[in-house]
Amino acid sequence: MIPTIPRSRAFRLIYGSYVLAFFLYLALPLTVVAVFAFNDSQFPSLPWEGFTWNWFFGEDRPQIGVFHERGILRAVGTSAFVALCVAVLSVSVGTTNAFLFNRYDFRGKGLLYVLMLLPLVIPGIVLGISILVFSSTLANGIWDLAQMDIQALRPGLLLVILGQFSFITTIATLVITARLQKFDRTLEEAALNLGATRLVAVRTITLPFLMPAMIGAVVVAFLMSFENFNTTLMLVGSDAPLTIAMFDRLKEGSTPLLNAVSLLLMLGSSLLALLVILFQRR
């Protein structure tokens, strides 16, 4: 079953159409979401009532477009803020983790490495509830001790950020460690020989080498945070990020407004993904 081994025409035809069918299956849901964003009707379904831009730019009821819908815009802002915090935090910790695992040998290193991988195999919803439970234990403890109510420990943006950070850091660590392993240590030694201090050597030689991986990790972390649903669902307070806001609307019944938001999301994330690929190729 490799190109050099001849196969019957029928076999190749069937195999080829199977692969084609697979890609149609992949594309189908996204295509319908995108197409119905332009349907001039209250529902994202057939019949097709004609083409309209109203679900993007419309200003009047009942067709208020994305760019005039306050709730959605606010949710996008919340998501972007959370994603930015998560990306910066997780890549910072990911970088220090990478240096730790790459440069030091110490007792318990293997155990810590396995612990570091664990967040990937814990269901997101369990991560969410465990952080919810612990933060409320903390908040209650502080209340009992000092009669202080720490709002930050109640469901809200801080917990959402921490919850997402708790597993995205693993991914950032893996991405950055992979690159650091390819680094030629003699380059750093050369800098030390030339009179640089250790910190200067790391800053001028190692970090620039790691930069593509770090930027890649920032983008991946940003996207994962922006799309996260399970962990966020358990920790969300009054300001909902975009996925939660869309979920609430979807439960009430959908209008093509959601299709328009989805289409913009698709464009945004493919643009980011493309940027990363271009950047990595350089």
Binding site: V19, L28, P123, I125, I129, S130, N230, S254, A273
Partner: protein, 285 residues
């Protein structure tokens, strides 16, 4: 120099320990403790196994638990069966540009939020949806067909959502299979089936294991797809956790459910690793 190196070591170790300690280990221990207590009256709790007793004797809870496990295994198996030929095509049959383009096409849907993907399936499958209309137009149905809110719809969604996590590891391992090994298999008198069984599948095993683990985890922990595409009877275990925590505010029972989910997923992941003799580091790292 040594002292300096020691300070650097401690500075690098601190964030790791804070992260793992405060966000992973202690919260899970706390969750376990909460699941082990029983509410006597306001603010008064006693240690007991009542929550687990409830979870293991109430038929609805137990049924949902096993259903979620079995359906997740089924979703993983279907994903593997669908993905394997495609991954093989990308890794071994397609060449050059085509190979790159096909691989990219596999990745694209997954840069999009799961919510959007689920929404797409709702538009396709619901009573007024595209497929229902298509069937009527083709004369195969004489009235709108509701295809949403049942197990099949949920399965379609689950498989779709986790497809990428199967295709990518499979392509990566299959790409490293040398063509000449497959040729040698044929030269030694093997046919398509025996080459597949004796050469290709054993070689792809690492990819199959890591793909299956990730897909299983994602299906088990999925909330969105069963809620939006599944029907009234297809309750998912994550929905029960959500209900106990957010709707009923019964944190003790919710924590017990959470712990059961965690144990179930750990046991199955551990079992898969044991069965294939691999470690978590090799599979995930």
């Amino acid at each position: 120099m040594r002292a300096q190196s020691r300070i650097a070591f401690i500075l690098l170790l601190t964030p790791l320990l804070l992260w793992l300690g405060l966000l992973i280990l202690i919260p899970h221990i706390d969750m376990a403790l909460i699941s082990l207590r029983e509410r006597i009256s306001f603010g008064v709790y006693e240690t007991s196994l009542l929550q687990y007793q409830k979870a293991l004797t109430e038929p609805l809870y137990l049924r949902t638990f096993w259903r979620t496990a079995v359906m997740s295994v089924l979703a993983t198996a279907i994903t593997l069966l669908i993905a394997f030929p495609v991954a093989y095509y990308i890794a071994k049959m397609a060449r050059g540009r085509l190979q790159q383009v096909l691989f990219m096409l596999c990745l694209i849907p997954f840069y999009v939020s799961e919510l959007v993907r689920t929404f797409g399936w709702m538009i396709l499958l619901r009573e007024t949806g595209l497929i229902s209309n298509l069937l009527q137009w083709a004369g195969l149905a004489d009235q709108p067909v509701e295809m949403l809110y049942n197990d099949a719809a949920m399965m379609v969604g689950l498989v779709y959502t986790s497809m990428l996590f199967m295709v990518v590891p499979l392509v990566t391992t299959l790409e490293s299979l040398d063509d000449s090994v497959v040729e040698a298999g044929y030269d030694l008198g093997g046919n398509g089936l025996s080459v597949l069984r004796e050469i290709i599948i054993p070689h792809a095993m690492p990819g199959i294991v890591s793909g299956c683990i990730v897909v299983f985890m994602l299906s088990l922990g999925n909330y969105l797809t069963p809620t939006m595409l599944g029907g009234k009877d297809s309750l998912w275990f994550t929905e029960m956790i959500y209900n106990q925590f957010i709707v009923r505010s019964n944190w003790e029972l919710g924590a017990a459910f959470g712990f059961m989910l965690l144990v179930l997923s750990s046991v199955i992941v551990w079992g898969m690793l044991r069965l294939t003799g691999r470690t978590l580091q090799e599979t995930m790292g």
